[in-house]
Symmetry: C2
Subunit: 240 residues, 2 copies
């Protein structure tokens, strides 16, 4: 059975303006690979309702899971929850269980659960909450869309919660062979290898180091024995 | 006149598998902001022809410029040029000026211009070459799509070449005010500020430091005087 597929939607002007370097994409990509879920596409859009709604609809129709990052805080530019509700045509309002989590948290910390903070208890109808062990304000899952915070520590905690509930496929294994020759020297050999081992993925990632060209060849698949065989054959073909 | 808009398309399984952390998105976002071009969307797709073709078509129709990164090397998984040709319904073949650049380069370095390397001279009909001062193999611009290498040093050099040819809008200016209070404390003030200064963008980016909550408020716009006024007003409202 093929692995489940996933897409990620990063919401935030701060990434697109170059102010912030996104950390969540790299983290999620690694976690999904470990869990046997194939990340197929990432989109980054701005804090703009039509852009978010269109991306949620497109990605949730095309992939088994969609993971979103950003836009669920208390300020005016946090519009993700409303956009998810709009994308699926459901209502959204402050929900009692989410409000209770926030009320308990702010009572303990001595801060006020004001109108702005109460925005974080707005949850689309039919969604399940995602626990936030870091700062309490929950994420949520609606249909196949998992809505999480953009702050990396919170995002990572929520990803762990969601992944524990998913049935993944077979984890993707990989081996890398570093080859100190230009890509162009080895391309024909790689093409032949990729054709012969068509159950594996053969990637070639060139680099320059101290003025010399080289490439990392990464062979990925779900069967360790096949990857071993392909790597051994590649090394033999290139007389390494 | 509004700034020109742009999208970025990152092509590469190595990003989606979590093997490589993308560096080009962050770089391009910063350069476009400096040049007054508004980056509106980024997509990351795998080395898969239908996914690349669909993304090129969608983004080139929606935005003034599209910048792509990755997939223009000599190996079998480098399919970007062919996908760009397919997206626009034009032919693609080895082009003499591109072949000459490679021939001169490999003659000088003593390497062979073999069949694999010659793939890098395949250029869609009607495209203009983008100079590659680092490793010579050119990128190209077809219509509003700028096709560049994924290796960061080459990508950055090509971005510089392309941006020199574009007429940008007004550079986006920004000022940041660090506020050592939780987002929820300041949200109402920010909402009012964003409504009053509707020619500016008011963003709020929370952080946690040594267990305390804070937020960076970033005000962006093209008129420095307006940003100054908004920042001053914000500081006064919050009694900073």
């Amino acid at each position: 059975m093929p692995n489940p597929t996933a897409a990620m939607l990063v919401i935030g002007d701060e990434i697109l303006s170059g102010r912030t370097r996104d950390a969540n994409m790299y983290y999620l990509a690694g976690e999904l690979t470990k869990h046997g879920v194939d990340l197929k596409e990432v989109r980054v859009v701005s804090d703009d309702a039509p852009a978010i709604v269109a991306a949620v609809r497109a990605l949730s129709q095309s992939f088994d899971h969609v993971f979103t990052s950003g836009g669920i805080g208390p300020t005016h530019d946090d519009i993700t929850a409303d956009c998810i509700a709009e994308a699926f045509g459901v209502s959204i309002d402050v929900r009692e269980d989410a409000r209770a989590i926030l009320a308990e948290h702010y009572a303990r910390t001595g801060a006020e659960l004001n109108e702005a903070r109460l925005r974080m208890a707005r949850i689309p109808e039919g969604a399940d909450l995602i626990d936030n062990p870091v700062s309490r304000a929950p994420g949520f899952t609606l249909r196949n869309v998992h809505v999480m915070a953009g702050v990396p520590a919170v995002f990572q905690a929520m990803v762990a919660t969601v992944l524990a509930t998913l049935t993944g496929g077979q984890p993707l294994l990989s081996q890398t062979l570093r080859i100190d020759r230009g890509e162009g020297e080895i391309a024909a050999t790689l093409t032949a290898l990729a054709e012969k081992y068509d159950d594996l993925s053969v990637g070639c990632y060139p680099f320059q180091q101290n003025g010399a060209y080289g490439a990392n060849v990464v062979i990925r698949g779900t069967e360790g024995g096949r990857i071993d065989a392909a790597i051994t054959e590649l090394a033999r073909e290139l007389s390494l």
